[in-house]
Amino acid sequence: MMKNNLAMTKNVKGSETKQFIVLSAVLFLLWVLLSGKMEAKLLGMGLAASLFSAWITMSLLRIPSVDRKSVYVAFDFPYVKYIVYWFWLFKEIVKANIDIAKVVLNPKLPINPQIVTFRRPMDNPLAHVTLANSITLTPGTVTVDVEGDLYVIHALTDGAAEGLEGGEGEMMKRVCALFNEEAPKGEEAKENHG
C-alpha cells in the first residue's frame, strides 16, 4: 500500500470517481461486444468483473508526474478531444505512409537517416506516451529513446526530420493542448547528428 500513501501525500490531478465509472463502462462494453450474448446471468457476471477490475487497478492507475510532485489519474483525460486527435493523427499517418512508400520504391533510394533530438517538457506522463507513440506510428520517424523530456528520434528522410520541427511541430502542439500542458519556454535543444 506504498502507492496509496504516496497518493495521499501528493496532490492528485484528475477525478478517480470519473475514472472508475468510465473504466467500468468501457470494460463492460468490451465484455458485451466480445461475448455477444444478452443473457442476464452473463451480463451480471460481466458487470461484476468489470467493476472489480476497475476497482482493483485503481492504485495502479495513479501515475506519478515527471517532476514527482503530483500524481495523475491515468484514465481521466478529455476523451472527445483525444478521439479528435486520433483522427487527425490517422490523416497524418496516411500522408506519411504514402511518402515512405514512394521513398522505398524510388530506384535512387533518397534517404538520409539521422538522429534528431529535442526537448519537450510536459508534466503529465500520459502526454509523453501519446507523443512518443504518435511519432513512432508515423512512418519515417521512430522514437528511439525518451529520457525525462529529452526525445531521441530516428528519422529516415530529411522531410520526416523537418516535419518534427525540433519539437515545435503541429503534433507536439496538439498533444500539449490535449493535456493542457504549457508551451515550453525557449532553450530547445535541436541537434542534428547527420
Binding site: 505512409n97 522505398v104 537517416p113 530516428h154
Partner: protein
C-alpha cells in the same frame, strides 16, 4: 460490396509488399524499422477495413475493429522497445556522411 472490400484488401497487401521491399532495400536496422512501420500502420488498417466491409455490420466486424485499435496502441510500444534496446546497446545508425 465485395468489390470495394477487394480494393481495400489489395491496397493493404500492396503496402505490405512495399514494406517487405523496404526491409530488403534499406541499409541498416533503424531504417528498416521505418519500412516495417508501413505494414503495421496503413497496410494493416486497409486490410482490416476491407475485412470489415466484407463482413458487414456484425459482431465479427466490431471485433475486427477492436483488434485494429489494439494494434495501433500496442505496435509503437514494440517498435520503441526494439529500437531503444539497439540504441542503448550502442548500435550506431547508418548515415550518408559516414559512407
Amino acid at each position: 460490396m465485395e468489390i470495394i472490400a477487394g480494393i481495400f484488401l489489395i491496397a493493404g497487401l500492396f503496402l505490405l509488399f512495399v514494406a517487405a521491399i523496404g526491409i530488403l532495400r534499406l541499409p541498416d536496422f533503424y531504417s528498416r524499422l521505418h519500412a516495417s512501420g508501413l505494414s503495421e500502420t496503413l497496410g494493416m488498417v486497409l486490410c482490416f477495413i476491407g475485412l470489415i466491409i466484407y463482413e458487414g455490420f456484425t459482431f465479427t466486424s466490431v471485433k475486427l475493429l477492436i483488434i485494429a485499435l489494439f494494434f495501433f496502441l500496442a505496435n509503437p510500444i514494440g517498435t520503441h522497445v526494439i529500437s531503444r534496446a539497439a540504441y542503448r546497446s550502442g548500435l550506431k545508425p547508418w548515415t550518408r556522411k559516414g559512407d
